[in-house]
Amino acid sequence: MTRAPRDYDDIPGTYVFDGEHSRKGYALNMFCMSLNQAANREAFTVDPEAYLDRWDLTPEQRRVVVARNWLELLRLGGNIYYTFKLAIVDGLTMQDVGAAMSGITTEEFSAMMAAGGRPPGDTAAGGRPPGDTAAGGRPPGDTAAGGRPPGDTAAGGPVIGGQA
């Protein structure tokens, strides 16, 4: 039986963790979550292959775990909150992983975030060029603002950064 289409299927660069993904990735995610325990982190670090033997991963899942291919992990049923446990063992940050998944360097990713993040309409798989602040981006260095006084619903709609 084929899966009925969903209203989120066409969102680019996005792996909605629904039942289909969850079924595919159950063992993979449970392996990742086991790394919440210090003893398991230790065992995995000391002998990854032996530790992986304990989990019912598909050969492909096992290969991408070893390769730390963060995007493939999602495609094979991984959920980012689970797969990130593996990144923590490696000492990586969410920006390192975000950069790897969007095909840019961590420095480029950090610069993109500092410039206001990726615009929702940015569908480019390799990420947008760093420094591209077009379309919803905020100029780098614009950290102004802070809290808007209550009742300030100033027309003009949303104010970037929330500054009054």
């Binding site: 629904d18 959920n79 993040g117």
Partner: protein, 290 residues
Amino acid sequence: MARIVGGVGTSHVPAVGAAIDNGRQGEAYWAPYFAKTEPARAWMAETKPDVCLVVYNDHADAFSLEIIPTFALGVAPLFPPADEGYGPRRVPTAEGHPELAWHLAERLIIEEEFDLTIVNEMPIDHGCTVPLSVTCGQPDAWPFKVVPLCVNVIQYPPPTGRRCLALGRAIRRAVDSWPGDERVVVFGTGGMSHQLQGERAGLVNLPFDTAFMDALVADPDGQAQVPHATYLREAGSEGIELVMWLIMRGALGDAVTERYRLNHVPTSNTSNGLIILEPAAAPAEAADAS
């Protein structure tokens, strides 16, 4: 009777917790954000709630894919910080309020017909502890009891916005019916726009976030109609956490006064937002106060 005296909507970004735990608030990257959160700490210090009901989502820490409760209410006497892979955060263990929590369970399940999961063992992860740090700083003990309400938003399908708003309204009635005199603040946490995963990682949509806050204040019923696909598309795959803010909003009653809001981009990979609401004073109450 107990009463709800305020609501806080806030992001719960792990990197914010790490910055606090490691004394990095003064660094150039963090100082502007923490400066914006000062009014939230001042409001909390002034409001002095006895209990905070913290609506948040677990991130593969207390719950796994083994059991995925949609709404899980913590009734334990103590909630220790979870080990999320780094060792537990060095923050106080939260003291629960089992009497009130069991009262909420009974009222919400019997009178209000919300089929909650009741949880006795629930280490709290950054979803719950970071909002406490943001609003309280680094005390030796949290200055109030904590009743955690954990919502599934990481395994599709999460509960709808309508259901979340309705649960918040039911929570208000349940708190009102508690004979104690506790003053309660409700947190709705998560968001704002962010996407941690996929080629679209790093998404931020500040206009969405601002419009969400505006609607949260003025038109929660309208916001509650927004389908999940809209959040996923516009606010990013993890932006769907924002439905939890609707539980907080529902708990405050129909009319609210906005005390404070901030937006800050970025904290790590997230558009960070915080809003403080209070139930609008009833006319008689307002007259008494003047």
